[in-house]
Structure formats: C-alpha cells, structure tokens
Subunit: 313 residues, 2 copies
C-alpha cells in the first residue's frame, strides 16, 4: 500500500485555458474534449465559467456544457464537474444547470480585485463568502480561493498577511475546500512552501488546492513545492493552456499531462490515462494552430526501453 | 547575513546548447555572447568541447575561444572557463589552450556509453579517472560527472546502484567536484532528492553539481529538488538551449535566466545581472530564428509595481 496521500487532479483548461484564447471554440468541440478529459481519470473537470457572455464570449456556452454532462450516463460517476462563478447571477445560472462544485475566489490584490470584480477586497470577500454559503446550502461543493496570492502583475508583492486574513475569513465561515491561485505566476518554490506551511497549520481539516501559472517557468516546480508541504489537489490545464485576461502578463497554467507524467514516473496516480490527456493536448494544439506550453505532448512520454535486458551488465 | 549556502551557476549553453544546433555559429558571434555571459556574474562559463571537428563542427573553434578568453583582461578574474573533454586527445588540446576547469563524464547507461564513447562503462570510467588525474596534476580544476544518471533514452531505467558505483570510483580517485547529468531528462524531483541524498551522505567534502534537461518540463523543479538536499552548483543554458545528439529525445537544459530569475525572487544571487542574461537569450533566439525553451526572455521579469503604494490598504 502506498502510504503517500492521494493526489487529486482538477483539469481547468476548458475554463482558464479557453477564456484566454481569441478563438471561440465551438461547443461540439468542447464537448468532445471534455468527454476525453472526463474519461481520463482526473478527479475534477472545470467545464466553464458563468460570466457575462458579452464580456467573455468564449464562456457563453457554459450552461449548455453543464446541462449536457449532467444528463445521466454522460460522465464517469466519480468525476466532479466544477464551474467558476464571479457573482450571484453566475451562481444562479450554475445552480440551474448542474454545477457540482462551485469555484470562486477573492483577490489578495486591491487592483486585481477592482479590475476583475469592480469591488475592493473587503466587499468582494463578503460577497464571495455569502455566495459560498448559498451554494453549500443548496447541497453543492464549494472551493474558495485567494487569487493573486503570491504577487500581482499590477501591485507586485502581495503581503502574506493579507492572504492569511482572507483565508481566516473563509475558515470562520466554515469553508474547508480552499485554494491559492498564483494568477500572475509570481510564486517561487520557496514562497509556496512558506505560505502554504503557514496556512496548513491553521486548520488540519482543510483540503488545500494549488493553482499555478507558468509565466516565469516555475509552475511544475511550484506544484512540487506545494505537494511537499501537504497540498493534495492540483489545478492544471491540458497542454498548459491558460492565463488570466485581467493581469498584465500571464502564462498558461501548470500543464496537466506534464504533471501526471511526472507523478506517474514516481508511482503516483497510475490510474490516470496519460494517453487520453496527450490526445486532447495534441488536438487542442492542432485546433489552435500553435505550440502550447506543455512538454510531453511534443516529446512523447519517457520511452519504454528499446531492448530490455541490454541494461543488465 | 544570508545563512543559506551560496549557489553557483555554470553556464553551459555555448557547449551543450550550440552542439545541438544544425547551424554553426560563427566564432565572432560566440565571442560576443561569451563576453556577455562572462560579465553577467555567473561563476563558470563552458566555452566549448574538444571533440573531433568532423563529428561536431559546431565545436571546431573551441581552442580559439579558450585562447581568446585566456588572454589577459578578456574576462572578469573570478569567472572560471570550463571545457568538456571526451578523451585524451581532447584533454591535450584543452591543456594547451587555457581550459581552467575540465568537465568529463562517464555514462551510467551501457548503451549511451557505447554510442557516446565507443566504450563500455567500465573502460570509460578507467579512462576518465586517468584523465581527471592528469588534469589535476597539471594544476587544473576537474569536474567529473555521471551521465544518464536518472535514466536513459535507450535503456530506460538506470539502476541507482550503478550511479553509486561510478561515484564510488570517483571518490576513491580523490575527485571531489562531482556532478550528475540527467542527459535524457528522465529525472523527477523525487528521484533527484533520493539519489543526491544518498550520494551526499558518502563524503561531505564533495561539491555537487546538477545538470538537468527539460525534455519533460521538469528541469527547474529538479533544480529546486537538488538544491533542497544540498546541491550547490547548477549547470544551465541561456535561453534553455541544449540537448544531447546521442540520445533519442533530449530537450534543452535548465534555462539559466529562468533559474536566476527564480533565485533572485527569493533573494539568492542578487549579484547576477539578469538583464545581461536576458540580452544574450534574446540574441540567441533571434540568431536561431525560433522560440527557445526559456520563459523569462519572452515574458520579461516579474514587473516592478506600476504604482507603488496602491497596494497598501
């Protein structure tokens, strides 16, 4: 029996990835990609966000996607459908179309908060906590996150105290699925270990998630740093898609199949079908017509030995 | 005073990077890049390798490069010029043209050893140890490495015992600057911590170096894993250039400026001139006419706050 904690994978490419693309991906294609992702063995798949379709046309079909996959038999039973909501209107839409887990967040950067939500941190926090309680009361799962937790493209350094205060308000509200999002990609492994260590000590019941962007090349290094101090859920995007339109510079998310490939080299999550993830990554790159950030969909996985036995001497 | 150990940076792009390129870079251009790298604050710069110019024409001007930079006043005094040698003929050339540190290695993969040197591991090891002693006797520094230490594109898994045995033979010969090279990029952070921990326990006098390739996206994560267990010298290539022509699949090296950018975010090596490294990375990418593996030369470093003070509330 492997004594290591089970690591969970939350695929967010259809949301955090595609919202960044100038092309709007047709719903039928999203459905095909989502089917493959839902069948790959990852634990959660984020199908979309509930934002104004005029502002983010890439997400205009979120309700349809959730309705599609909420119908019986359309996804493996254990996989959770998650959706991002920014406000009460989005929550209402998500409750109506079958979102199983609501993801919502408060930025630790005043500037990012105002640009993203039009509200100061304090007001945004109050509203998010209220929305989280409503979603829980409706019997749905909720993950709340601190965005720009490791720095902000506008403000630079974000004081750890501010992140701790927001997390404190989540804990007071009884929320136990929490996440830090490195929206701008400023995190380093040292910062990740430092901040998560502090937060994990606050309440042992919390299930912690991490969400890193690869703007400066550190997304996988940061995932490993988070794992080291006890984070067990990893948000990542197939092919390394992603980026936040509300920050100045934002690279793609940590790449799902690169992370799975690494984990599997060490015997973690052998149940995930790497080939299925690689298939989607290649299709997405082909559809978008450019190289994406992921490595393994281009290199292929570490090859099997060409002539087993030759290495024995 | 920062109590953390000083980390050393060994820039190897002019060798491990350019040997992989189909284009032969003119010597004058190499000299310009090397000048910038030597002045950037990194600790060691590998100017080239001493291999048969017919086999690797990209390295045919190695002797000229060392002669150039060995002349008085051509480089900052503290920076060490390193060169890679594969055999006695190369060592002879390197001794004649001013190599200050000889890098040489033995592969832990029989197939890689035979393809790279025409010799089995045992014979290659004997010859390398002999060459290392000759170079030390001639008053030069020597770094010996185990290549394919974390796996091999031909053989797959490389038993840790074999790496430990080769390192044991280096220690017996009194060699104390040692390195593991992940030639094929198979290492994971867990494997890195496991193997280096074991080796570092063998002899506290050894200065350990790491050399990772980013084939599967893990080069920086592996650098951090190595740092965590006590490795202090990092081989890396500007812009993430690199790759080994003798393995099937090989990505670029860990990217120097991305690693420096990360270290500096945590207050390590503030003396290195990131801007100088970024300048070379951009020139190299422009010369080669394609996007290279590095992130920061494309994204730019983490920006200074646009309006300092706004974050204070």
């Amino acid at each position: 029996m492997d004594a290591r904690p089970r690591l969970l994978l939350h695929e967010v490419g259809l949301r955090d990835g595609l919202q960044m693309e100038s092309a709007v991906v047709p719903t039928e294609r999203k459905i095909a990609w989502a089917e493959a992702l839902l069948g790959s063995g990852v634990d959660l798949v984020q199908l979309g966000s509930f934002v104004h379709p005029g502002k983010v046309p890439q997400m205009a079909d979120s309700d349809r996607l959730f309705e599609h996959f909420s119908a019986p038999g359309r996804k493996p039973a254990g996989v959770i459908l998650s959706g991002l909501v920014l406000n009460e209107k989005g929550l209402e839409r998500g409750l109506a179309c079958g979102v199983e887990m609501f993801c919502m967040g408060v930025s630790a950067s005043e500037t990012h908060s105002r640009k993203n939500t039009g509200m100061a941190i304090e007001e945004a926090n109050r509203r998010i906590v209220g929305m989280a309680r409503s979603a829980l009361a409706a019997g749905r799962r909720v993950q709340v996150s601190v965005q720009s937790a490791f720095g902000c493209g506008y403000e630079g350094t974000v004081p750890a105290e501010r992140v701790v205060a927001i997390v404190g308000s989540f804990l007071e509200a009884g929320l136990t699925q929490l996440s830090l999002a490195d929206t701008a990609g400023h995190a380093t492994p040292d910062a990740v270990e430092g901040l998560y260590s502090r937060l994990l000590a606050l309440d042992p019941r919390v299930e912690w998630t991490c969400h890193f962007h690869n703007t400066y090349g550190l997304a996988l290094a940061n995932c490993y740093a988070a794992r080291r101090v006890g984070v067990t859920t990893f948000e990542a995007s197939v092919a390394g898609l992603g980026g936040c339109p509300f920050t100045r510079v934002a690279g793609g998310n940590a790449c799902t199949e690169d992370l799975v490939h690494a984990f599997q080299r060490d015997g973690l999550r052998p149940d995930v079908r790497l080939d299925a993830l690689l298939g989607v990554a290649r299709e997405v790159a082909s559809f978008l017509g450019r190289d994406l950030d992921g490595s393994v969909y281009r290199s292929g996985p570490v090859p099997e030995p060409a002539h087993a036995g030759a290495a024995g001497s």
